[in-house]
Amino acid sequence: MAAVTKEGLMKEPGMGMTIGGFMIGGAFFGAVDGYLLGEVVGALAGAMVGALIGAGLVVLAFKPRPQDTATEIAHVPHANYMLIWAALFVMTILEVGVAFLALSKIAIILALLLLAAWKALLVALYYMHLRYEPRRLWLLAASPLPLAIILVSTVLFERW
């Protein structure tokens, strides 16, 4: 691909379109499946979250950045790895501390999930260099997340 333009991406049988369609299709299927089982609310919530994330990702993926078109890499950008390590270390200690606080169970779970998601995001963005990758790889990397939400939420809200 000589230059990544919006038109070029549209012409190309792009990964973005394929994955975006796959995700929206998955979300739709999640909703239909939930309807058949009589579990409209949970499945629709999952499907809507999935479709929203999917749509956002498609928009992101179609915005090329300079490094997507560069023909040579003058220097490889990366974060301060030791700083990320320190942040992960501190957040692990925080997690263990929060888990045994005398707070309500819901508050503790929310805080723990937030910290875990934050840590996971740090690893993915900086250690796996996702932050410096083309946006279309972001789309690919995030594509299973809506599916994961649909999978868990649909079964979780099922009543029998």
Binding site: H75, Y81, L112, Y127, M128, L156
Partner: protein, 209 residues
Amino acid sequence: MSQQEAVVVYPRHPMPGLGVYNLKAGMWIFLLSEVMFFTGLIGAYIILRFAQPDAFPEPGVLLNVQLTAFNTFVLICSSVTMVKAFAAVQNGDQRGLRLWLLATVFLGTFFLSIQAIEYYLLGSHGFLPTIAGYAAEAGGPLYGMTFYTLTGFHGAHVSIGVLALIFTSVKAFRGGYTPEQLGGVEIMGLYWHFVDLVWIILFTIVYLI
């Protein structure tokens, strides 16, 4: 430009599709299948826990959180040594690449050793992944089943990662990686960081919540 300011400039071949080289695209696609694999396991854990809240003891009652928190720290350290190995090969530092890779192999093995000790200690308290070994005070069958399935599958991933790391190290000692040819180190790193990422979530969900 002085010597210190010189940076490595190497050609970047046109990469259609995802905009990354095939090796990396392949590893990412594999990791996506792994995300769904662990979603199945973690999702089952969440669903079972919602369905049977009494079968799961409070955090710290049965599991040794301090030991596992230390183990989490070991795995985080192994992630930083892995990324340091990649940074070394990017800068053409062969010695650094080998040393950081060896450090990662060591830390990965250390993590597995601590997990083995943890399993041994839990087993000696009657918390075993066998039907006969389930004690009622240890949460009953559901807890043992989910705990050993989740941590066991993660441990298997770390074991495979350590084997792959040994392979990568041997190749590094033979001079198989250069700043132009570093795909092997990068995708090894991607797998290793993914395993670390999964542990971050498992540690939170299984040990702390």
